[in-house]
């Protein structure tokens, strides 16, 4: 063992001057790299470069190998080492993980004084829930970008992360917090979607509190024009800056879409409705089986309105958490002429 270490030491001594010279050439930059990670709570949402994820994930194994005196560690983890020389974020994480892993050595499985811990989402800080959702969505983006870069398919993994973000967000009762938690959801879920035909109208759900009954007088009045009783649980949709242009209601298991003010060019025509996040949550059985191409059952009326079923589900809009799940899924809804 001693011999091995001596060899390693010689090798390090030989290259150390070159390393220092190279660092001087490359890294004499004036910035003071933040020692801590770019954190969502610190800076409001940036998660750093997506392509760090592969390296970051290797840090615990690399650190453990070093702590185990594994003389081959630097060879096995050579690409990670290259990355660490130039990446202050991962380097900082490396130092932290090294220290924290070091603290685990020699610990045996006896008493673990963790005390009584709260174990319910209801008592978990909403800020930490928002934070988790955003981290998961950002992680999903990192996974997708890395997969595209590596020409691999990690769609299922990214999808799983997004699902967990949606399910976690459903425990947030305040709409503003849910809005923040899922801010990047649509963008990430449709990151590499190939949309060839632009939508005639693109709607987004207006996040509401409770079971989805909004109480604004304008909304109430507009809701009446959409042909449904005021107070019935619904998901409200809007397009652009307009106040309200559609709703989704539930008739037993069936989710129904109601749209109004559709353009003249769509009158009398069938529509193809796309719910880009529709494949994220499985409890909805979409009409036609494809949430990206749901054909309206009737054409748009001459008054520019449309009411058509979208699919069936066991979720209930009257249940606050189910409502929040469905609302997240309808964060984007596109319609196109279907003929």
């Amino acid at each position: 063992m001693k011999k091995h270490n001596d060899g390693l030491s010689d090798s390090r001594n030989e290259y150390l001057p070159l390393a220092q010279w190279l660092q001087q050439i490359l890294a004499i930059t004036p910035q003071q790299p933040e020692a801590e990670l770019a954190s969502i709570t610190d800076n409001g949402g940036e998660f750093g470069d997506a392509y760090h994820s592969t390296f970051y994930q290797q840090l615990p194994d690399f650190v453990l190998a070093l702590l185990n005196n594994d003389t081959q560690a630097t060879i096995r983890f050579a690409p990670l080492l290259f990355h660490l020389t130039g990446c202050p974020i991962c380097h900082s994480a490396y130092l932290e993980i090294y220290d924290a892993m070091h603290a685990t050595l020699g610990i045996d499985e006896t008493h673990i004084p963790v005390g009584q811990l709260s174990q319910s989402m209801a008592t978990t800080s909403p800020r930490m829930l928002v934070y988790l959702c955003r981290l998961l969505i950002n992680q999903a983006e990192a996974v997708l970008r890395q997969a595209r870069n590596d020409h691999t398919d990690n769609d299922a993994w990214a999808r799983s992360l997004l699902q967990q973000a949606i399910y976690s967000s459903s425990h947030l009762t305040q709409s503003m917090l849910r809005q923040r938690a899922l801010r990047d959801l649509v963008e990430v879920a449709t990151l590499f979607d190939d949309v060839t035909t632009p939508a005639a109208h693109s709607y987004t759900s207006v996040l509401s509190s409770g079971s989805g009954s909004r109480h604004g007088s304008k909304t109430r009045r507009r809701a009446e024009t959409l042909g449904r009783p005021v107070g019935q649980p619904a998901i409200y949709l809007q397009s652009g800056l307009s106040e309200l242009e559609g709703t989704i209601t539930q008739n037993q298991d069936i989710l129904e879409l109601h749209l109004e003010d559709l353009g003249q060019e769509l009158h009398g025509r069938f529509l193809t409705i796309s719910v880009p996040l529709g494949s994220l949550l499985e409890p909805v059985r979409w009409i036609g089986g494809n949430p990206h191409a749901i054909r309206s059952q009737v054409p748009v009326g001459e008054d520019g309105t449309l009411t058509t079923p979208l699919g069936s589900t066991d979720l209930r809009l009257s249940d606050p958490e189910d409502h929040n799940l469905l609302e997240a899924m309808f964060k984007k809804l596109d319609v196109r002429p279907g003929d």
Binding site: P17, I25, P30, S53, H83, A93, E96, T104, T110, Q164
Partner: protein, 300 residues
Amino acid sequence: MPFTAHDLRYNLESSYPALCAYLQQRTKRYLGQFAYDAYEVDVVVGHVVEQLTRIQLLGGGDHAPETALDHLSNAQFYAFLNQSIKNKAIDRLRRRRLPTSTLAELEGSGNNEEDNDYLTTVVESIWGSPPFPTPEAAALQAVSQEELRMLLKRCIEELSNAPHQLQAVIKELDEVGAGDFLQELKEEFRAQLADLELSHLSQHKDHAHKKLRHCLQKSSTNLAVLIALRLTEYGEHITGTDEMSVEIRTLAKDSLSEREVQKGLKHLVRAGLLEWHGEEIIRFSSVQLKHLARFYDEGE
């Protein structure tokens, strides 16, 4: 046991509350007088949650590869979390410029509760010292690896059109003792450098460094490095000022989307190299230009 690493990987929704509760409990302990500052607690807890997410443990399921953390015993995993919290809390306290004595108290051994809590006890490695005196020493060894050496060699070779600059770099490498790498270069350029006089070395060295940095930036597949390079190449002087400017769409020419450009710009902002808040036109000073020309990062 409230939660395990396995729970966090496979049952995140049900185990996250317990994780948060545990991290908050430990954070409050280490934050001392800031224990009831909700922002500080969030920053510390959030930091560890972010780390676990990036390691791909949180919600990773069967998709994310297992790491050493998955193979820790429960007690070790809690010790890992505890130490991570402790380090971040100390970091926050330092930022708040607490007196050193308070920190010393925090980490001191006179606390009975601390004595009884073996999770916070520093434990010597049963395997002895690690092969590197510090983690940085391990990272430094990176340059001995072949890929970076080859890249560096290619960039030095590009100096062959300017023999004095090549000579300046080789002399510099000679002074720092670059071993067999230097021998390879000397061998390759023996004839070219044979009759050259040593003059104005400092000036040639500066030019050579500039070219080397440019070459390394050009060779990089890192998006932020590419954007830094384009800023230095496409930026135009604003008359009567010390500033340069360039439009996002100009940076997006040749194979980049505007979204990618914005992503690269954000990275440079985070690195402290640029001030940019989403404007279509990016402005930067000549000092920033100099720093951008030196920016280099690994990876894609």
